[in-house]
Symmetry: D2
Subunit: 280 residues, 4 copies
């Protein structure tokens, strides 16, 4: 009995690249990590060890660096479109080229309200992301962010849930709500102003989180997605992952002290894992 090859893909992951873009009076500094993933007619590579249709992952890596010289001048979405098209158009055996780019932010230093020309501080955990997919049917772009830590100290409740013999959690009308937010949204086109759109969506996400009177993580998640769709016709659908980073009130009562929602233990594990998709 012969076995058969099903879904498969290969490519180079974590191609880490930094670029200085030199302007007359200041420098930009950009830092990205690129994943290349190819699907296509690779069956004989798997079944026979025939590498004649294999573009080595080392070459993929070199290509990313070489194309960055000319084409990485704007958003990660535009660079991703260039890369995806490059691999797809030059390799007839490839049916789908997928480029994932993660950008690490850097913040320009400022002193006495003067921006410095060439010194930066690291931008923290939050990262901007994009996935560009090129097939014979054209290119699609999904963008997002991840590792965005957000927290509110009030306007968050969790009540009226199911109780059973394993229920210990107490209902609360006032708790900390914290999450390490990940969002991915699908664009309806590939010729957008990706920079402006991104900034607008990110602000809506933060604003909705901050002002929402939350009855649950699920409700806040939906409210964020709904508002982003409302304000952005170019977004078809958004997927949100909002793990509940629990902050548990420490039991001070056992020492004769009150804990009026003041002192908390932040725990990493276990954590609630809340996901949802919002579409039109």
């Amino acid at each position: 009995m012969n076995m058969k090859l099903g879904l498969n893909a290969y490519g180079k992951n974590a191609v880490n690249l930094s670029k200085i873009i030199r302007h007359a009076d200041h420098h930009e500094f950009r830092q990205i990590s690129v994943n290349v993933q190819l699907e296509g007619d690779f069956e004989t590579a798997y079944t026979l060890g025939d590498n004649t249709k294999i573009l080595p992952t080392d070459t993929q890596k070199n290509t990313v660096y070489a194309l960055a010289k000319q084409h990485f001048t704007g958003t990660i979405e535009e660079f991703g479109l260039q890369l995806a098209y490059h691999f797809f158009s030059r390799n007839p055996q490839v049916s789908k080229a997928k480029i994932e780019i993660t950008e690490h932010g850097w913040q320009r230093m400022a002193f006495d309200e003067q921006a410095h020309q060439h010194a930066f501080t690291g931008g923290g955990a939050e990262k901007r992301t994009t996935v560009v997919t090129q097939t014979a049917g054209g290119a699609t772009v999904s963008s997002g962010l991840k590792d965005l830590l957000i927290l509110k100290t009030t306007d968050s409740a969790f009540e009226n849930y199911i109780k059973d013999e394993y229920t210990v959690l107490k209902e609360t009308s006032d708790r900390i709500l914290a999450t390490q937010c990940e969002a991915v949204w699908d664009y309806t086109a590939t010729d957008l102003d990706f920079e402006a759109t991104y900034q607008k969506i990110r602000t809506t996400l933060l604003r909705t989180f901050a002002f929402h009177k939350s009855l649950s993580v699920q409700q806040t998640l939906f409210a964020i997605g709904e508002q982003i769709l409302r304000e952005n016709d170019v977004v078809r659908e958004i997927r949100l992952i909002m793990p509940n980073k629990h902050h548990i009130p420490f039991n001070l009562e056992q020492f004769g002290l009150d804990n009026n929602n003041e002192i908390f233990i932040a725990t990493d594990e276990p954590f609630g894992y809340i996901t949802g998709t919002v579409s039109r």
Copy 2:
């Protein structure tokens, strides 16, 4: 315009649980991490903040500990089946209950070839995994392993691939092949001897990797999957992820020394990412 809720799920992740199973003359020590994920009729929780159909993730966590007392006596697959059935059968609003369990191995200490009764060393990075899914249609079990580091110092080549203007990599008939293997296979039934089957599959994976004359990671991946399917009628399909943990010969020639495949730099990033599915 109202937006609508698409695919969604929630649950408790990383429920870390250890168990001592006490036998007359020795102890077993087991350590697992459990993820619970529920899908179902949760729309009003997202759109209205109505929590009346929400089983809190804190209760899910408590349930895992309580059920472990009675039901975690054998394989993670058997315990997963119990947990998935529990959440599905008691919650009519749940259409799918998915339980993921990761087991960390511990090795019993031995001295002078005598196994010790109750002392253990940590089992390393390798972990055993299972995913049990319960719906109205019944239960399914997929099992696997991850973070299995395997390496061979020869019998691995990579030649005859595409060359273009970005090609730097040299063909080689003898290189190190190393990977951090992840495998997941689907079982055809839920009443198997999960322990014996797992051990047999793991040995086949190692043996095929060790003895294969590899022409590429892709070919070795397929060979492993094919052999596991051949030897195990109870496996329907297997998915393998075999990132290429590159070991690059260090350029000693610049110092007037030979490097006959002796001295290498192991790099973490970037890395080749090779995946494939093998089915009947």
Copy 3:
């Protein structure tokens, strides 16, 4: 032959604590991690298993939470002084109580230049630190920061170093200088305005890094330390760790392209590790 106990210490590490400080019109959110370490007359605990002089690490943890309720209202230095004094003064067997506190920053969200009352984003990798030590001789305070990522795209050279048969590195008058800076400085007193002093020192560190014409990491490190000492009489000595986070120009010439200090690979390992102490 009897063996003897030398240097020893014990305590609770990683006591993670969050606090909401509620003001009339806004909330503060603080997040810290506390290590308690006790030295003293613990010999019989080690040699005989006599625990009568052992304050359990669980109790130490509880104490941190209980004291945070009343005493964690200002800087980590002030809270550290309270904690160190508490453990030292109540335990005659303790000769030294050391408290280490790491604070994770959170940034208040703002919309349309209005600060939000109770919503925050995570502050990134950078952390503020303090070590307070209490002995019979009194208390001392050292403070610092760590995981501060800073980078400049020019004004950094590295030339005129030793060359030998293993030299490959090319001299350069213009390179990226990047580091994950850690600094610890000793204060001359315990009744300082720790907040203002910290902010002043941090700004001097950034400013010196940004404007320095660097001939080496060593020189920049010394310049930073020297300037901080010059501007702050309350600092006796400063210790700096500035690992060189290498950014290596990618070899585009092999593809017929120039790389005029534009495209770089940032590598994590190996890394240059540069340390130095500056004192009066």
Copy 4:
């Protein structure tokens, strides 16, 4: 006022190196990470940016690879002695050369009790370490291990400790004892059989941990150190770090179930941090 340079050092860290040692009928595979640290007459580098006495860390890295070709044939201690002597003897400005080496173990695969010639599995978290220091006074060697996870399910108690108003912990005569052990011992000579001595010490550590009737982590730590010194005249002193990896019984009583030391939560943070030195 001029500031002065105090303690300082620099070097290359995390020089990751793998070596295949080829024997007629089998291969050895070795994986190490090397830190080089130099102290000496480097004042003008810090104060003036004068690099003429600086051996670049890039050259240090190259030297490690070049010397590994000839000299890394046995233990990490022997290779460390070669490296330390190399940097010290060729650089008159260096007063101390310190080499730290961490070795990652790999286990040879075996099938049907036959060892395979060239296939290996990763050795887990445990690592073997050495620190070699060369000065004008000669060389010294300290060796050790780290990240050794060990656990026993009984023969561990913790009772008769101090109680105060913050005490919650219950005394127990039977608990899990688990630690991620780190040990460093100083050798009295540099011409030892480092391999045999290491294996003997490691076995004594495990055996003492396994058979000890523990009254506290402190007592077990001392017992291990004492026994290692007793059995090894070539060890002058040993330093042990044994963080208490807490396993907390889950409160099943709240659900009407017993928990006879069966079901535990393993927590990462906070953790007890126990250290001690044992000498003659």
